[in-house]
């Protein structure tokens, strides 16, 4: 049963710059409780005010704070659209279509060891995923990768939710190298891995998971227009043929994909 989708005029509560390349938007619905949303789902955010940013921008749900009725979006400032989102101010309206797509599978029991692997801005949905696992009495393990220490985001939030291990490419924090080289992977056994990050990183983790027979899900971020399965632009090749990432994903079991 899919969760009901809504178009909501969210109100921006705060805009926090995380270094020079990222912005954390905290928003609320001033008129009603936010609808139920699953970790791994995303929102299509409307970016107005410029002919260059014509379409909505798909942004993953970073966190939902039910008590404060807040939804968080972690935005990497890459193009005109994300930079427009980064210029929002407290009190501004942000039109959102949500929740969209399918979330990550939740663990079947609290005893299971669950590893959440994130790279760059791809760490965003893992915070909400970890927090939902906490509600099940489970403390997940995070393995987070970034180019440098400055690009590790929301570390205090992640540490509150789970056990955090880190790699940086320059060795400025945690172990030097890529997430797939981290020693935790070779010291501990995990029952399931959930991954979100750059495509080469997800493919490397998928390869590790397959080699060790660990169930693994990855979250894709193909370019899309509608977010509702209508435009058929965001397709990924799968064992079932071309499918829309927005409706069949963005989270896929690696066995559904045609990755080598």
């Amino acid at each position: 049963m899919a969760l009901k989708k809504h178009i909501i005029d969210l109100q921006v509560v705060s805009v926090e710059a995380l270094g020079e390349r990222f912005v954390l938007l905290k928003c609320t619905d001033p008129n009603a409780p936010l609808p139920p949303m699953m970790p791994g789902q995303f929102a299509q955010l409307r970016v107005d005010g410029s002919k260059e940013t014509f379409l909505r921008r798909p942004i993953s749900i970073n966190f939902v704070d039910a008590k404060q009725n807040q939804i968080w979006f972690l935005v990497q400032l890459v193009g005109a659209g994300s930079r427009a989102l980064g210029r929002l101010k407290e009190g501004d309206t942000l039109n959102a279509l949500l929740p969209l797509g399918n979330g990550f599978s939740m663990p079947v029991s609290a005893e299971k060891k669950h590893l959440l692997v994130g790279g760059g801005v791809g760490t965003a949905p893992l915070l909400y995923l970890g927090a939902q696992m906490n509600l099940m009495g489970m403390r997940p393990t995070f393995l987070l990768g970034a180019r440098t220490k400055d690009m590790l985001l929301q570390m205090e939030d992640f540490q509150r939710v789970g056990d955090v291990y880190v790699t940086t490419e320059d060795g400025s924090a945690g172990e030097k190298g890529f997430v797939t080289q981290h020693s935790i992977l070779f010291k501990q056994h995990f029952d399931r891995i959930s991954v979100c990050g750059p495509s080469p990183m997800m493919k490397a983790v998928a390869k590790f998971a397959r080699a060790n027979s660990v169930p693994c899900e990855v979250s894709l971020e193909n370019m899309m227009a509608c977010g509702l399965g209508a435009c058929l632009c965001c397709v990924e090749k799968t064992v079932k043929g071309n499918v829309c990432v927005c409706t069949e994903g963005p989270v896929f079991d690696i066995n559904e994909l045609t990755w080598e």
Binding site: F54, L55, C226
Partner: protein
């Protein structure tokens, strides 16, 4: 409350607002966020006789006030539509119309024949103008002979309202419109997308997997409006206008240019509820100007 009802041949619609093929799925994808019964007609995604995988990713590029796409008619085929989708949509209180495509006149006709058997589908829109497939598609829509051959074959196989969607990628759209009218089309809809491209300058590469795509969105509106005006003056069958419509004002422009109904396409991606808002907006404008019926403004632009 103005009278918004309009007709396309024998097809009666409660209002002139339709959703364009390929931008609104089968309608049901949007039912959480818009009242489907507030829409005059829903043209479901392009359907072919056999399933098609479409083109490779990437299939889209954002452009100023618009977008390019090269989806390439991905769909699960007419049998899947009839068995799996039709039972879910047949009772929705609006006109459900199927967009039909093919790679030869016989192929179009076979697909249309399957749709003809569905009692709650009263019209098809023939896509002879898709710029994103090599076999068929736009190849038929850019010559009067090609367009005529498809419409002739389908007209024999399909007895209900037959709408033919025209390509703007031609030197004289009026001659194509007249040719399909002569073969028995009940209506023409225009325009399909304009062929274009976009380049990623860092990669020195075109952004779409097949190099080119169809341009849509507000950027094409003036071109579409001009073509609707020209065609509406030249043919005696009802015209359906589309191309960049994103507001009630846009819709009224097309109606005044001669369109008996309009389709909303790319704007559905920005606001999935836009079609119902445009229908309401047309009503409000008519009321504010004391005009009793939308039919009173069809083609009134000088």
């Amino acid at each position: 409350m103005a009278n918004l009802s309009t007709s396309i041949g024998a097809l009666q619609m409660k209002n002139p607002v339709m959703t364009a093929s390929g931008t609104f799925g089968y309608g049901i994808e949007f039912e959480d966020v818009v009242d489907l019964t507030a829409i005059g007609g829903i043209i479901v995604k392009g359907t072919t006789f056999l399933p098609r995988q479409g083109n490779d990713y990437p299939r889209m590029a954002e452009t100023p006030s618009g977008m390019l796409n090269c989806v390439g008619l991905q769909n699960k085929g007419v049998q899947y539509f009839c068995e799996t989708i039709y039972p879910k949509i047949r009772k929705i209180d609006t006109q459900m119309i199927v967009n039909v495509s093919g790679s030869s006149p016989e192929d179009y006709a076979r697909c249309a024949e399957c749709i003809d058997a569905l009692e709650d589908i009263h019209a098809i829109e023939l896509n002879i103008s898709c710029p994103n497939v090599h076999d068929g598609g736009m190849a038929f829509g850019v010559t009067t002979e090609g367009a005529s051959s498809v419409v002739r074959a389908v007209r024999k196989a399909y007895g209900k309202t037959l709408i033919v969607k025209l390509s703007p990628n031609v030197t004289d759209i009026v001659s194509i419109a007249k040719a399909v009218e002569a073969e028995g089309a009940d209506s023409v809809s225009l325009i399909n997308t304009l062929m274009g491209t976009a380049i990623d300058i860092e990669k020195r590469k075109r952004m779409l997997s097949i190099g080119t795509g169809g341009l849509s969105g507000p950027c094409v509106k003036p071109v579409a409006l001009r073509m609707v005006y020209q065609v509406a003056k030249a043919v005696n069958i009802p015209v359906i206008g589309l191309g960049g419509i994103a507001s009630a004002t846009d819709a009224i422009e097309f109606i005044m240019a001669g369109a008996s109904a309009i389709e909303i396409g790319t704007a559905n991606f920005l606001d999935p509820a836009i079609s119902a808002k445009v229908a309401q907006g047309i009503n409000d404008w008519l009321d504010a100007h004391n005009i009793a019926s939308v039919r009173d403004i069809i083609g009134v632009a000088e």
